[in-house]
Amino acid sequence: MKKTYKVEVDCANCANKMEEATKATPGVINANLNFMTLKLNIEFEDGVDRNQVMEEVVKRCKKIEPDCEIYL
């Protein structure tokens, strides 16, 4: 199950770090943050509660870049 989220982040390096953090979140198979289009593509594991996973993703990303925004 793949889904795309709109993201707001100012620095390209933070975007890379956020991508790493998203990939490491349980329930996520793969993630890709495109800094140029400000889109976060996430591939979820089957059967996970997406909202729960996203809550964790947002929490982890905020830790890296408090200024970032992920629109759920």
């Binding site: 100012d10 620095c11 390209a12 390096n13 890379n16 890709n32 495109n34 800094f35 140029m36 289009t37 400000l38 889109k39 593509n41 830790k63 890296i64 408090p66 200024d67």
Partner: protein, 637 residues
Amino acid sequence: MNKKQKKTLYRIVGTGIIAAILMALKLEDPLNFILMMVPYLLIGYDIIIKASKGIKNLQPFDENFLMTVATLGAMILGEHIEGVAVMFFYQIGELFQSYAVGKSRRNISELMDIRPDYANVEVLNDEGVPTGELERVDPYDVEIGRVIVVKAGEKIPIDGIVIEGNSTLNTAALTGESLPRDVFSGYEVISGSVNINGLLKIRTTKEFGDSTASKILDMVENAGNKKSKSEKFISKFAKIYTPIVCILALLLAIAPPLFNLISQNPPLWGQWIYRALTFLVISCPCALVVSVPLGFFAGIGGASKAGVLVKGANYLETLSKVKTVVFDKTGTLTQGVFDVAGIHHGVLDTETLLEYTALVESYSNHPIAVSIAKAYHETSGKALDKTKLIDIKEVSGQGVIGKIKDESGILDFAAGNEKLMEALGIENVIHCRSVGTLVHLAINGEYGGHILISDMEKPESKDTIKLLKKIGIKDTIMLTGDIKAVGEKVGKDLGLDKVFSQLLPQDKVAKVEELLGAKKGNDAIAFVGDGINDAPVLTRADVGIAMGALGSDAAIEAADIVLMDDNPMNIVKAIKIANKAMRIIYENIYFAIGIKLLCLVLGAVGIANMWFAIFADVGVLVLAVLNAIRTLSVRKM
């Protein structure tokens, strides 16, 4: 500029004024220190706040944290002006970067301004008959088969067929081709083209989401998701660069003074800590991390303007490494529009032979089948009577076998190449002296003559091969299912290096695999086809290029790069764009890493001070970003 950027700009200007006044006053410490904290906090408060959040979240190598340490350190060491200046220029760099990136984001979305906002549908009354009124709706809501009306100046929102009206279409946004196209009733039109003059009524053949414009936008937007090797290298580099520089800074702050202490010299703590802080100023890999994806993004955006759609940054990178271009013949180097050039040794009259062949081929959309149907239509003026066709079987790569009901009974009718004749055990097969594709016929197990079909080379093909050689392509190879004589004639006419003929679709895959196995080092192989019957080869090659792919979903799906036009010259353009983008991206990588290393060395030996470091850092960022944006321009290609 957005709100955030404007605010930063005001802070930069404010800081500049206050700092300049304080510098002019030349106050004594500690008053100077206290007053200098005003511009320092004004320009750096958000960074300091972020840094403290970073500490709380255990993100030690966060650039905000490093900047804060470097500048606060400088302030405490008594270098007030430098402390303020580093923050000041750092913010200028960040502002510039955010502005430039935002600007290119907008530029590229403007380039791809093919998204239709609405569709005019005919309002139907209760019986489903158009009332003549029009209603403006969201293109998402238009079902397949509805009639939409496109007025002059409007974009065609959904793919379809013209059912009424004549007009000229501008397809420049889609194909990069500025020559307008005339369309009339019965013509297939694609979404994203602009109707220049007349009023067109179009019956939609696709849903909005499957229409060309939506697909293209989707492709371009998602292109950045396939990351190139250079981008992966940069992310890896960024990950280790900052920690390494920080550790070096720590060593620089501690080791030399300790060494001095041991060797009973003055330790010079202040001097070494200052040098260490200089290190921290250049610890941010921003210039690299932003300029490389920006270069790819702008390159892909520029290419799409020229009618070359690149499906991922990695493909742009691979395309620049292509040394061998493999072409499919039909529809790629030749027009793929066949004409029946003659019927030889026919046992029945021409019209009947054409009719029967057209009948058995009637379920194929292969260009040859289409040309035979066309020839029958032109000679007889009649439509095909498909009730005469009883049975039909396709033999892949050979032809078709069918049964046809005739006045005299039921005929076994076969049409195909020599291999089919051989398989059927037909004797006395006659070979033709003319060069062209032959469709041999067999009726009730006896040879029935052959139809000679010829294809024309595209006028641009020859120059394409010549130019490819000029831009550094070593090998040009053509694969074709056609007979040897045809393949070699085309190969010789166009100046190709190698020609492989009589290949079945699976042979083409095998041939490309053979070439892939034989290639050297980093060289890549591109395959160019028109997407008909060659999807597996497109997928297999290092880069699959589909051309003239407008409206062909299979090709868009299978290819890595899609040429919107069927002009082979666009292959040259695509490679040139890739070469330029990669050249700029490598320039940025070497330039940024080079300057950073130079600064580190000069900083360590004390030649470069903090001013030098911040200028170098921001300067590299600005230049790298400006350089990356250059990839957007593809006009002279």
